[in-house]
């Protein structure tokens, strides 16, 4: 008579433990959706910032902007050039 009681008790304990395990697992997984949404929104905001910075860089580095700024600062196009002829090597010059 003792054996069936032990087996039944053991099975009962296993079932309870499995239930606890399942509940804890479900509990931990249940919040991952929210975490996932948070991560996704963070990624989206970084991407957005990146895009905006890229556009700001392109805008500032464009020749259209540089030309305009250069004119404001009083720069003028180079119209003359200076050529420096390299001196002959000493041995040849002598």
């Amino acid at each position: 008579m003792k054996k069936p009681i032990i087996i039944i008790s053991f099975l009962g304990i296993v079932i309870v433990l499995m239930l606890i395990l399942r509940i804890s697992l479900v509990n931990s997984i249940s919040t991952t959706g929210i975490t996932l949404v948070n991560i996704q929104s963070k990624i989206a905001s970084y991407k957005r910032e990146n895009e905006l910075l890229k556009v700001a860089y392109l805008q500032s580095a464009s020749y259209a902007t540089i030309g305009k700024e250069a004119r404001k600062l009083g720069y003028v196009p180079v119209t003359s050039e200076i050529d420096l002829s390299a001196p002959l090597p000493l041995a040849l010059a002598k």
Binding site: L36, V55, Y63, A64, D83
Partner: protein, 559 residues
């Protein structure tokens, strides 16, 4: 069997029959519809939009890229003070407040007000906390250099289904490479609408568009744009175009034409400005065509640079017409070098007669006249050559000095490029390489089309063109110390069966330095009003750009 028993049996039979019927209704009759509703509750199709590839100049700068923008919308039902809100939105979005007010009067929950709104404007609107106003993210094409090389780039519009599509120029020609492919995925949601961390059922994977790296040198493009715009304004031309090419590879370093448009706001410009005239417009090249015919005759061994013209002492009669020089000055027994230097039409008639129709047509075809160059841009045109039986003696004579024959500027530049490149004609190329999203770079090698003339003929012709540049009509504009090969062109425009003497297409074609050409360039001005001659209009523009290029490349003077 008692009646009670029978009644109970019947009741249960009917009850089960009803259940089976109901189940049949749900499971079979409305199965598809209910399955779709259920699917919609926990599944959501997510479109992962492919990013359109960027277009970069040779220095790696993106001259066409995607940019984040916003669609501003409003829910009119929550707006209380319509007048003040429409005023505020009108000012910030640069639209009439009456238009906004009309939109606010609509009996709808969602009304779009303006799309492609910049982040700065969006921030200003957000700061005002206007009731009912919302924003939807969009991706729009952005061109940081505004209208620089606009006709070369083309623009991105919408197709019939509302998807992005490239039109004209590179955006059109390379649309499939640039656009990539959208990806679609099914995301499973829980009862609260949060995504469940589970494997997504990917139906298709997103493939981003490829980037294009151009041969276009942004600095040369800027110089060309600036000088051409200046030239058009200074000489009162109706329009103008120009391109710079690397003679050895066929790489297009810059291409410009005016009037142009801003690809970001293409809707605000006439359709005619979208077309790149350098590859589509046909015109009579005039004297810029002479070096091709002269080099053909020299290559065929029919003339030498010192061959004397025995018909150049006065106007040449052909088929009832008298062919004159451009200034009615005649040089008896002039040499072939001087024919090019003085841009002598009668001398070219002499060369044309020596060459004959068959050989002239053969050489024209070898130089690519009448054919498309194969440049990688959308919309290239080829005017074609007339059939051999439609050529009369007068046509042969006028074609020898570039009248009565039509070319596109691209064709002419590519043909003259062969003289600069030891007789080898290269295929013009805009794109140097294609970059895949995974970082691979696929280079596009230069392509030699053919060799219309020998290297020796090309070198002799180059020297003749240097003489023409140094001693010809445009010699005042030459850059001292440098051997630049050049030829002016002043072509009359045919109007209603005759040439209008007051309207011309002024041009200048050349390359330099002649001993080791680093650039070949063609400048074309349409109907300049200050002077009708190429020497006085297109040539100064050519030399202004040439000087900038020589300084930019750091090329020392030849002399």
């Amino acid at each position: 069997m008692s009646w009670r028993y029978r009644f109970t049996l019947l009741f249960f039979l009917l009850f089960f029959a009803l259940i089976i019927m109901r189940l049949f209704y749900w499971q079979v009759v409305r199965a598809q519809e209910l399955s779709a509703i259920g699917q919609a509750q926990y599944d959501q199709q997510v479109v992962s939009e492919a990013q359109r590839g960027e277009i970069k100049t040779s220095d790696g700068f993106s001259i066409a890229a995607d940019k984040l923008a916003y669609l501003v919308y409003i829910n009119p039902k929550v707006v209380k003070n319509k007048d003040s809100e429409s005023d505020a939105l009108g000012k910030l979005l640069d639209i009439k407040s009456a238009t906004v007010s009309a939109l606010l009067s609509l009996n709808k929950f969602w009304v779009p007000i303006k799309s492609s709104v910049d982040n700065n404007v969006k921030e200003k609107i957000s700061a005002k906390n206007l009731p009912g106003v919302g924003f939807e993210e969009q991706t729009v094409r952005y061109y940081p250099e505004a209208s620089m090389a606009a006709q070369l780039l083309g623009f991105v519009g919408k197709d019939a289904r509302g998807n992005d599509q490239g039109y004209f120029g590179l955006e059109g020609y390379y649309d499939r490479q640039l656009s990539g492919k959208n990806g679609y995925a099914i995301v499973v949601h829980d009862a609260s609408g949060h995504p469940i961390l589970a494997k997504m059922n990917n139906s298709t994977v997103k493939v981003d568009g490829r980037d294009l790296v151009l041969h276009i040198d942004r600095r040369i493009q800027y110089m060309l744009d600036t000088e051409l715009k200046k030239g058009i304004s200074a000489y009162g031309a109706k329009s103008g175009m120009a391109a710079v090419m690397d003679p050895k590879t066929g790489a297009i370093l810059a291409m410009s034409s005016f009037p142009d448009f801003d690809p970001s706001h293409y809707q605000n410009y006439p359709d005619s400005t979208y077309i790149n005239p350098f590859i589509t417009d046909t015109y009579e090249p005039g004297s810029t065509f002479k070096p091709l015919i002269m080099s053909a005759a020299m290559n065929a061994g029919l003339i030498q640079p010192n061959t004397q013209c025995d018909i150049c002492s006065g106007p040449v009669p052909i088929g009832g017409y008298q062919l004159h020089t451009w200034n009615d000055h005649y040089f008896p027994n002039t040499s072939m070098t001087d024919v090019i230097v003085h841009s002598d039409n009668t001398g070219m008639v002499f060369v044309g007669e020596k060459l004959g129709l068959d050989r002239m047509l053969d050489y024209m075809q070898k130089f690519g006249i009448g054919d498309m160059t194969g440049i990688d841009l959308q919309g290239e045109e080829a005017p074609g050559l007339r059939a051999k039986d439609q050529w009369h003696p007068i046509d042969l004579a006028t074609a020898s000095f570039g009248q009565g024959i039509v070319v596109t500027p691209m064709e002419l530049l590519d043909a003259v490029d062969a003289i600069a490149n030891n007789g080898k004609r290269m295929q013009p190329q805009i794109v140097a390489a294609v970059q895949t999203p995974d970082g691979q770079t696929i280079s596009i090698p230069p392509k030699e089309i053919n060799q219309p003339i020998s290297a020796t003929t090309a070198q002799v012709m180059s020297q003749i063109m240097v003489d023409a540049a140094d001693e010809g009509e445009a010699s005042f504009a030459r850059i001292k110390g440098y051997n630049i090969a050049g030829k002016t062109g002043t072509a009359s425009i045919p109007v209603a069966g005759h040439y209008d003497p007051t309207k011309t297409i002024a041009s200048y074609v050349g390359f330099g330095p002649a001993e080791n050409p680093r650039f070949a360039m063609l400048v074309v001005l349409n109907q300049p009003s200050s002077s009708i001659y190429g020497a006085e209009t297109a040539a100064p523009v050519f030399y202004a750009v040439a000087k900038d290029i020589l300084m930019y490349y750091g090329i020392p003077p030849s002399e």
